[in-house]
Amino acid sequence: MGASADASPDDPWVPLMRAAIAGDQAAYTRLLDEIGRSVRAMARSAFSRARLGDADVEDVVQETLLAIHLKRHTWDGGPRVAPWAAAIARHKIIDAMRRRGIRRAEPIEDFEQVLAAPEAEDPHTMRDVERLLGGLGPRQQDIVRSISINGQSIAETARRLSMTEVAVRVALHRALKALAAAYRNSLT
């Protein structure tokens, strides 16, 4: 379908995004990991300018990645992914700062500027996602944990829970949507 022909050479995320939309899990994993690094740098700089601690940065990264995932059909298929991903990140970072009592969030610098300084995740922080996951039904929690933390595939999870793969997929998708809603409604 000419995916490589009209992909811009200066945005390496475009071919990854196209592959992801076509169902390539490995490409999608890499894309989310790379976007996550940029979001982390952006969130860290916004938090430090607002004199918020570093502790919650990873929570914002996770919330943003979840939003990018659930809203990926709003990418217009154009020559660049970064401005779109940055807009979602900005929205989520400002949201997160407001929830932490920052009234007037400073304008957040553009994605491109932080692209050069990718950062790895800080592994020593408590996560909102664990707490919010606890608010989901037991079956949804089990499926999300199985695929994320335990690294099982959909098929393995389906076998273990005696469910069909389709049912696991549907439950996973609903669980992720519920998780995004829980972030939105959380007050801390």
Partner: protein, 212 residues
């Protein structure tokens, strides 16, 4: 849960073939508008002299105004559903109905004698206009808002307001076939007021329902 683990779960959630937000919004305004039209025809109906009236410029201007409100608003709804939307030019297009309205008011003032101005402005259907346009807006507004929930608007209130403007434009086109007040003096006084009610309701609904 580490971020890399969360990414595993996201990657396992395979892409689903979803219709684009634009297509959903177009379908919503069409279905909602059709529902309003059906309700309108069943409950109220067009004015008896519709055939003759439809040939007059004043009557046609009511449609033009409403259409010029509805068209950029629906396009804006579709645009603003993307988080990185840059809708400046389209927002400027929203001035078009105001400009057309202003020109037709000036022309009307020149055409009719001064002592008829007030009578034309007050008309005989002001309350009808203020209630029917908001009521007929409900089906398209509801349908549009539910379609826009699939989007990711950077400004949910603005998106809701634009859904209100699109719905008010559609409702005004339907209502205009019943309304016997065709003078631009009447239209410029009451139609925008009725539309503002719907736009305000849309903005509030947007803030409530279009958060993501």
């Amino acid at each position: 849960m580490k971020t890399s683990e969360l990414i595993q779960a996201l990657a396992a959630d395979a892409p689903q073939p979803t219709p684009s937000v634009g297509r959903r919004a177009a379908l919503a305004i069409f279905i909602g508008g059709a529902a309003s039209l059906a309700l309108f025809m069943a409950a109220i109906g067009m004015r008896p002299d519709i055939r003759a009236a439809a040939l007059t410029v004043r009557f046609q201007l009511k449609f033009l105004d409403s259409f010029l409100l509805a068209l950029p608003s629906i396009l804006l709804c579709w645009r603003l559903a993307r988080p990185d939307a840059k809708p400046r030019a389209l927002l400027a297009a929203l001035a078009a109905p105001a400009v057309v309205l202003a020109i037709s008011v000036v022309a009307e003032l020149a055409l009719i004698p001064r002592d008829e101005w007030m009578k034309k402005l007050v008309g005989s259907n002001a309350m009808h206009c203020l209630t029917l346009i908001p009521l007929l807006s409900i089906p398209p507004l509801g349908a549009l808002l539910s379609a826009l929930r699939a989007g990711a608007p950077a400004n949910p209130m603005l998106s809701g307001a634009m859904a209100g403007a699109a719905s008010a434009g559609v409702a005004a086109m339907i209502y205009a076939t019943n309304c016997t007040d065709d003078s631009p003096l009447f239209v410029a006084s009451w139609y925008p007021l009725a539309s503002l009610i719907v736009i305000g309701a849309g903005a509030l609904a947007g803030r409530r329902w279009l958060q993501w």
